[in-house]
């Protein structure tokens, strides 16, 4: 890469050509204060906080939008610059309500930090009196215009990262304010509640209601983890205080999502209303009664141990770690020789010989073919990438039903029968990308095989850890009617199991391992309380085949135990010896996954 030589504060620095002065300074460890700039968003230079002196230039230049040039001499903290920044800050503080003492963001506010840094101890301009509305109509987010500094980070996040274009700016000058759609209440707008705006807001203008007023970030534990709501496995940063999860943010450094999250990942896990299972339950004298782990596992082991291999049925959700699914397979398929094992959701067919594409292929595509999958509903962050590619000029062809969430954004929607038309169009594109899911039929797959090698095929698996589940032998084809002892590993999956209960024999002995109470747990003979997403560690295999780490952020509630531990305890009761430590199991699971994938 071509390098350019510049000096910043007298230091000689070599920076890549095309880099901004701010970036070059940051890479060299030189601190330039910023406000509207955000590393994940395109710079727009509106706040003027990052002004620097460039020799030969008549005026101060914003570092975030100025590009480096050979021989450039930059100063970042001279007395005139400090004065200019104080002036900029005085102007910012002179508009709207920037009283920190009752603001949610106090302690984490970037404007406040700048006030501290440049020691603003009073206001030089007349006290501001024009009130702005506060919009609390959104279920998750609060939009407090009075705290807004018009940095437009939320607007850029909404357009550049989520590609939803809900937020924009209305009016001019002192009247300017962020608006949702055509100035409708935020809650009634086209917002899809990804929460990206709240994550990038430097002040207390947009924040999530659920995590509000629970203290500054420095009083919380921050744990890097992986979202387990769909098969993408977005990187997350989980904020906890005491025994509660306060907030989930997208991890800016995660390769999968680059800081993005969707409603399912950011808000749904925090707004769970189902009743937690915190004690093992055992059916005695017709009713479900609390029991000890010992009693509950003993009851399961007795029925399981006495059953013939063909009488055992195992049905699992895909919402588990590699380790839990591996151990489940090992115990039931290998040790107990059960063959009636199944997965609650479908699996994207392995239709193509060539190596799988990755999510990173989506932004590169100039034609995107979406076949038999609805990422808007099932893998929202992937839909952000698709919509982002469309913003940049890619053509979107949706080969699916009318109700596909991407249909409104598509240049053309085709029925499955017209797949040849879609293939035709894709053949003419420079970088065609095919997104497909469990809805891809064999016939359609065969038609798609005609695409030239330049085409990238990206599978979007339904469920969560579906790829690992399938690799460990859990596929469709479970027959409830054949099972006399039924082991249901449900975890956090929402499923009432009504059909299953109808099909299963009246005398079937039903064991449910779940995190929450459901119609199914009420019908069970034994209920094993499982830890939820925040309470267990392990790894996840995402739809691209990436191995992602999940970290435990909280202790399991009550007597609930991590799924892996429950299976290991049950294995012990059954006299089967499975690998002991998490690391050992992780290694074996990874080994087997690698073997299966190749």
């Amino acid at each position: 890469m071509e390098k350019v030589n510049i000096t910043i504060n007298g230091r000689k620095i070599s920076a890549p050509a095309g880099s901004t002065v701010l970036r070059a300074a940051q890479d060299a460890g030189i601190d330039i204060p910023t406000l509207c700039n955000h590393p994940a968003l395109a710079p727009i230079g509106v706040c003027r906080v990052c002004l620097v002196e460039v020799k030969g230039m008549p005026a101060f230049q914003p570092a975030c939008t100025s590009l480096v040039a050979e021989g450039m001499e930059v100063q970042t903290e001279t007395p005139p610059l400090v004065e200019a920044r104080k002036f900029v800050l005085d102007m910012l503080f002179s508009e709207r309500n920037h009283f920190c003492m009752y603001c949610e963001m106090s302690g984490d506010c970037e404007l406040q930090n700048l006030g501290y840094r440049y020691r603003l101890d009073h206001w030089v301009y007349p006290t501001y009196t024009k009130p702005f509305p506060m919009d609390a109509t959104h279920q998750q987010l609060l939009l407090e215009h009075n705290r807004c500094v018009l940095c437009r980070r939320c607007i850029r996040s909404c357009s550049d990262l989520t590609a939803n274009h809900t937020l924009d700016l209305r009016k001019r000058g002192i009247e300017a304010m962020v608006q949702a759609d055509t100035n409708v209440p935020f809650g009634d707008s086209s917002c899809i509640s990804c929460g990206g705006c709240a994550q990038v807001c430097p002040t207390g203008a947009i924040f999530d209601k659920r995590g509000a007023f629970m203290g500054p970030d420095k009083k919380m534990a921050h744990v890097q983890s992986t979202c387990s709501q769909c098969s993408l496995g977005c990187g997350t940063k989980v904020f906890t205080r005491g025994d509660i999860v306060v907030r989930v943010e997208g991890d800016w450094d995660a390769a999968v999502n680059g800081g993005r999250l969707c409603k399912k990942g950011r808000f749904d896990p925090l707004n769970e209303e189902r009743k937690r299972l915190t004690r093992p339950l055992l059916r005695r004298r017709g009713g479900l009664e609390p029991a000890s782990w010992e009693e509950a596992l003993q009851a399961v082991a007795e029925h399981m141990g006495a059953a013939r291999a063909q009488d055992i049925g195992v049905l699992t959700s895909s919402r588990f770690t590699n380790e839990a699914l591996y151990q489940l397979g090992k115990l039931f398929r290998q040790e107990m020789k059960a063959t009636n094992v199944g997965l609650l959701n479908g699996v994207a067919p392995k239709a193509f010989d060539k190596p799988q594409g990755s999510l990173a292929d989506i932004p590169k595509g100039d034609l995107i073919l979406v076949v038999g999958v609805d990422p808007v509903k099932d893998q929202p962050v992937a839909s952000f990438l698709v919509k982002g590619a469309v913003d940049k000029g890619a053509r979107l062809i949706v080969v699916d039903g009318k109700d596909n969430g991407l249909a409104p954004f598509a240049h053309q929607r085709l029925e499955m029968a017209d797949i040849d038309k879609a293939v035709d169009m894709a053949q003419r594109a420079t970088h065609p990308v095919v997104l497909y899911g469990a809805g891809l039929s064999e016939k359609t797959a065969n038609a798609l095989k005609k695409l030239p090698p330049k085409a990238a095929f990206v599978a979007l698996e339904p469920g969560v850890n579906t790829r690992a589940a399938a690799a460990f032998g859990f596929q469709n084809g479970f027959k409830p009617q054949a099972a006399k002892v039924l082991y249901l590993m449900l975890g956090e999956q929402r499923w009432d199991g009504e059909d299953l209960l109808k099909q299963a024999g009246k005398d079937a002995f039903i064991v449910v391992q779940a995190g929450y109470e459901s119609p199914l747990t009420l019908q069970a003979d034994v209920v094993l309380p499982a830890a939820i997403w925040s309470e267990q560690a392990g790894s996840l295999t995402n739809t691209e085949g990436r191995l992602l780490k999940i970290n435990r952020v909280l202790e399991p509630k009550g007597e609930a135990k991590p799924d892996l531990e429950i299976i290991s305890l049950l294995a012990n009761k059954l006299g089967k010896k499975l690998a002991a430590s998490l690391d050992e199991i992780s290694a074996r699971a990874a080994q087997e996954l690698k073997g299966k994938e190749n």
Binding site: F99, R119, D121
Partner: protein, 181 residues
């Protein structure tokens, strides 16, 4: 050596800054070796003495004509005026009134309160008249030192007074004492 005289008073504030000042705890004994507190809202003498003091400390925002009088009198009678707390420095919580307007705020407080029957907006001549806009102390008198914070930390008070007693001006509060909340 004669003791340095200090007077304090509060305007539209909550007394929290004074409470925070008292949180310097036993260090107040150390301070009393060198200073004399002539008057404050929590002592018998309420007004700064006519002969003047070296340091005047004001808490609270300028909310009404009475606040203006008190601030002006303090300014006339002291050499160094310190504005303490977010109300005195920026307007603070009382300045929330600016966002609804004085008239509306009075109506809400005295007439429209859910428990009020036949309410009356007080207008005794003994009372200060509310101003249209709540402002920081520096908008009516010259202020020599600002100590923001809600309230300023006890250590900030002690630090500032110690610096002044040692003759070091201007006082630059260390980052841990420079807060807005």
């Amino acid at each position: 050596m004669a003791k340095v005289k200090i007077a304090t008073d509060w305007l539209a504030g909550c007394a929290g800054c004074h409470m925070s000042f008292l949180d310097i705890d036993e260090r107040i004994v150390q301070l009393l070796d060198k200073v004399e507190f002539t008057s404050s809202p929590v002592t018998d003498l309420k007004h700064p003495p006519k002969e003047g003091v070296t340091v005047g400390i004001l808490e609270g925002a300028i909310c009404n004509t009475h606040n203006v009088e008190v601030a002006k009198q303090m300014r006339e009678r002291c050499q160094i005026l310190i504005a303490v707390g977010d109300c005195a420095t920026f307007g603070g919580v009382p300045a929330m009134r600016n966002l609804v307007g004085t008239k509306e705020a009075l109506k809400r407080a005295y007439l429209d309160t859910e428990t009020t029957v036949g309410g009356l907006i007080p207008d005794s001549p003994e009372l200060g008249k509310p101003l249209d806009t709540v402002v920081g102390v520096d908008k009516v008198v010259k202020v020599d030192l600002f100590i923001p914070g809600c309230p300023p930390r006890a250590d900030a008070f002690f630090y500032a007074l110690s610096e002044l007693l040692a003759g070091r001006t201007p006082v630059i509060l260390p980052p841990e004492h420079f807060v807005y909340d």
